[in-house]
Amino acid sequence: MSGYNAADVPPSRARIARKYLRRRAPISWVGAILGLMLGISGGLFYTWSVNPVVEFDTAPAQLNPADKTHYIVAITLSYANDGDVIRAVDRLVNLQLEGDPIQAVADTACDLATSGYADTERGLNALYSMMRFYGPQGRSGCADELIGVPPAAPTIPALAQNPTPTLTPPASKTPTLTPVLRPTASPVQVIIPTVPPQNTFALIDANTFCDVARSGLIEVYVYELNGSVGVPGQAIRARGGGGESVFFTGLKPERGPAYADFQMTAGQSYIIDMPGQSQPIDQPLQAVPCTTPDGQQTTISYRVRFRASG
């Protein structure tokens, strides 16, 4: 009986024999790769569709087009007050608008002008603020034709702005009337004012302070033009709290001739002026609570200064 001799086995049979004789891999690569693909697909489906990352820290660039428009309007409105073009452009860049961000403002204004946005005064003013922003930057859009040239920006007096002294214009020369002598009638002199009434005093500043000893007090100081000599006997008017009060400088000599004060009622607001001699202050003085540096609660006080304006 002869033994097994490989040389006697045909080649095809030898290949089959080797297939069953070799050591099997511990894993099925086909199964593993198939599982991997299914797993990744399932994982992505779960994380992108079923349970996506919760939206937070949304940036302006991610806003929908309507809210991007609101944002652009807000940027130009802010620019209308602070005039800071660099800040405005930075904010526009954050929106990641396509192309030139300033031109994008012009295009947005164009879109708004062709919609019903400009039908209201509020919308029209917003469009004007946009045009005042992109116009000086050399950009243009269809809003320029549809809306027209924006009027000069309104000037709203703000408490935080430094008051600018108003110079008194020089009086124009009044022509001297040549008296006509008539033997039967006395000459009649008609006095026509050639200079409109001017404010004699102007507000310098209005500061707050918090002091228990002088709680809720409006301290008023009235100075000559040089700003150091007090003017006694000047009437100050406080309007608010359902009425008005007039008080005078110089009635408390220990505080100097420039001084007058008025006691506010807590929670009320007051407008201060010098009747017939100054414009009222821009914003009411409100008797709101305040805390002193040593932690005591009291009502806020104000120190208002007027000065002769020439």
Binding site: Y46, T58, D67, P163
Partner: protein, 127 residues
């Protein structure tokens, strides 16, 4: 056959892990077309500041209030007060704080914290 299924399950587990990592950390969903109400707080604050400056420019408080409602805020005066106090507490730019304080004043939301920022500065008088 058992070897195939075991490999498939192992592959599935590893693949799901990779998929979750990719989907949540590496390539998370990026939202577009989001509403302004979803803005991050810092951007909401900046938007509020812009509206405050706009109010100072045109004096239109009602318009400013409407524009803030885009943020999905019900209590606009309360929001203005909160943002203003946050600016003060975070020592933000004084000009920005003053704009917000003036805006808060328009809503009668002045608080003692805001009082120092109502100051009116004026050039010093000459002798």
């Amino acid at each position: 056959m058992l070897r195939f299924f075991v490999s498939l399950i192992v592959g599935l587990i590893i693949g799901a892990g990779i998929g979750i990592y990719l989907g949540w950390w590496q390539f998370p969903v990026e939202y577009v077309d989001s509403p302004a109400s979803a803005l991050a707080e810092i951007h909401k604050d900046d938007y509020t500041l812009m509206i405050a400056n706009g109010y100072l420019a045109n004096g239109d408080r009602i318009g400013a209030e409407e524009r803030l409602r885009v943020l999905g805020i019900d209590d606009v005066p309360g929001h203005v007060q909160t943002v203003t106090e946050r600016f003060i507490n975070n020592s933000r730019a004084v000009a920005d704080i003053r704009a917000l304080v003036a805006f808060a004043a328009a809503f009668d939301r002045l608080t003692p914290l805001m009082a120092p920022y109502q100051l009116v500065s004026a050039p010093e008088l000459g002798p």
